[in-house]
């Protein structure tokens, strides 16, 4: 697998923006056919509870823009100090141009500034960090703005129990910059494209454009309803994938960084759900106190924004005032997974903000 190491690049701030509207699984008895016991089991075992969702007018770009504005103002970084912007999203405003170009214009960044999108989901934040570290290390960029976010709630059919109660929305902004001080980080990035159809939106791209047929509702054997334009998830296979690849990837990265589970203060996994995270932690024999996992019950599975959301929501005290060696690891659509070990120290800002309701 491609592994890489960097020594003079650091994260200097992170902000995550969530929409103000909250949905609760307790209010969705109808979706579960009145089966309140099933809802109780989902809350207890999987950790589903509340989630934040956007309204019809708000997009990923809006959430990421608000996060970026707060990040840059609190970091006292001017727009003309940004050398590159990377947007990680699967829910861009347009098929073209990319969100990075749209946001580059809205933020008023310099013209000698690179702007590109990365089409990845739950593994995407770490992939974005990896790219940003390479851009800085290669010498062309002093400062990279990484914007990672998704509005998957808009792709979930409201009558599909496999996805509707799980996904929430969020947009994040992270500043990655060169530092003269030693700041080590290690990355591994991996893919298994043979599983591309385990988690996908089948229609709406160029292989199967949207049509009358793709918008037809279909009921599956489990009684869930969706169209080909909605997100489909084979929950059991994605779960199997997660508990197979994640423990191994984490072990290999720890070895590559010449450390072990004791040498890492926090393990911030993609906030898929509490059940997956406890299973991964159990296999790695990590103390669950070192594994933030409340983000999904507060905000839902936020796809590419879930790791920054967990950092801002559950680790801000450690990262603002002090220093923590963290392992970040994302896994999901692709199928794709990526992990990094790095130090989060003296962040200028590390917080969750709420977007303003759209007019």
């Amino acid at each position: 697998m491609p592994k890489s190491q960097f020594s003079q690049v650091r994260i200097s701030g992170v902000v995550t923006c969530v929409p103000p509207t909250e949905k609760r699984i307790d209010d969705e008895v109808e979706l579960f056919g009145g089966n309140v016991k099933q809802i109780a089991r989902l809350k207890k075992t999987i950790g589903l509870d509340r989630r934040r969702v956007v309204d019809a007018k708000t997009t990923t770009a809006d959430l990421c823009r608000e996060a970026a504005l707060t990040l840059l103002s609190k970091s006292q970084i001017a727009m003309d100090q940004i050398d590159s912007v990377i947007c990680v999203t699967q829910t861009p405003d347009y098929l073209q141009p990319c969100n990075a170009a749209v946001l580059h214009g809205q933020l008023g960044l310099r013209k000698d500034c690179a702007a590109l999108d990365v089409n990845l989901g739950c593994s995407g934040y770490v992939y974005g960090l990896w790219l940003a570290h390479m851009m800085v290390s290669a010498g062309g960029c002093e400062r990279v703005l990484l914007l990672a976010g998704d509005t998957i709630s808009r792709l979930a059919h409201p009558k599909d129990r496999a996805v509707a109660p799980i996904f929430g929305d969020g947009g994040s902004a992270t500043l990655v910059e060169r530092t003269a001080a030693q700041s080590n980080s290690w990355f591994s990035v991996e893919t298994d494209g043979s599983g591309f159809d385990k988690l996908m939106v089948p229609a709406g791209g160029h292989r199967t454009p949207c049509s009358g047929e793709t918008s037809q509702e279909i009921e599956d054997e489990g009684g869930n309803i969706r169209t080909l334009e909605n997100l489909f998830m084979d929950g059991a296979e994605v779960f199997n994938f997660s508990i197979q690849v994640e423990p191994r990837a984490v072990r290999e990265l720890l070895e590559y960084a010449e450390t072990d589970v004791e040498g890492v203060d926090y393990f911030v996994f993609h906030q898929a759900n509490r059940y997956i995270l406890t299973n991964i932690a159990k296999r790695l024999k990590i103390d669950v106190a070192k594994v933030p996992m409340q983000t999904v019950e507060r905000y839902g599975n936020q796809s590419s924004a879930s790791i920054p959301s967990a950092i801002c929501g559950e680790l801000s005290e450690q990262t603002i005032a002090g220093s923590s060696r963290v392992l970040l690891s994302g896994f999901g659509v692709g199928l794709s997974w990526a992990s990094t070990i790095l130090d989060l120290a003296d962040l200028s800002v590390c917080e969750i903000i709420e977007s303003a309701p759209s007019a």
Partner: protein, 78 residues
């Protein structure tokens, strides 16, 4: 690996099933508690305790706990 132990593990894996209520001939797919969530919890239990990677289809293909246990044993030895 004994069938009795497996049935106990299964009862513990599926939320809201009382220990001691299932038998080798129980068709688990007819249980009131059997849903997509219990599919996950059983897959996780079999992975952790029996070191066997079940697919959702494996669980759909068996009619009783005895048959499922036999299926797991055949996958464990292959």
């Amino acid at each position: 690996m004994s069938l009795d132990q497996f049935i106990e593990d299964f009862e513990e894996a599926v939320e809201d099933v009382e220990v001691g209520t299932l038998s080798p001939s129980t068709n688990y797919r007819q249980l009131e508690q059997w849903d997509s969530l219990s599919v996950l919890t059983v897959i996780a239990m079999v992975d952790a305790d029996y070191d066997v990677r079940l697919k959702a289809d494996d669980l759909k293909g068996c009619e009783s706990l005895e048959a499922l246990f036999a299926h797991i044993q055949s996958k464990a030895s292959s």
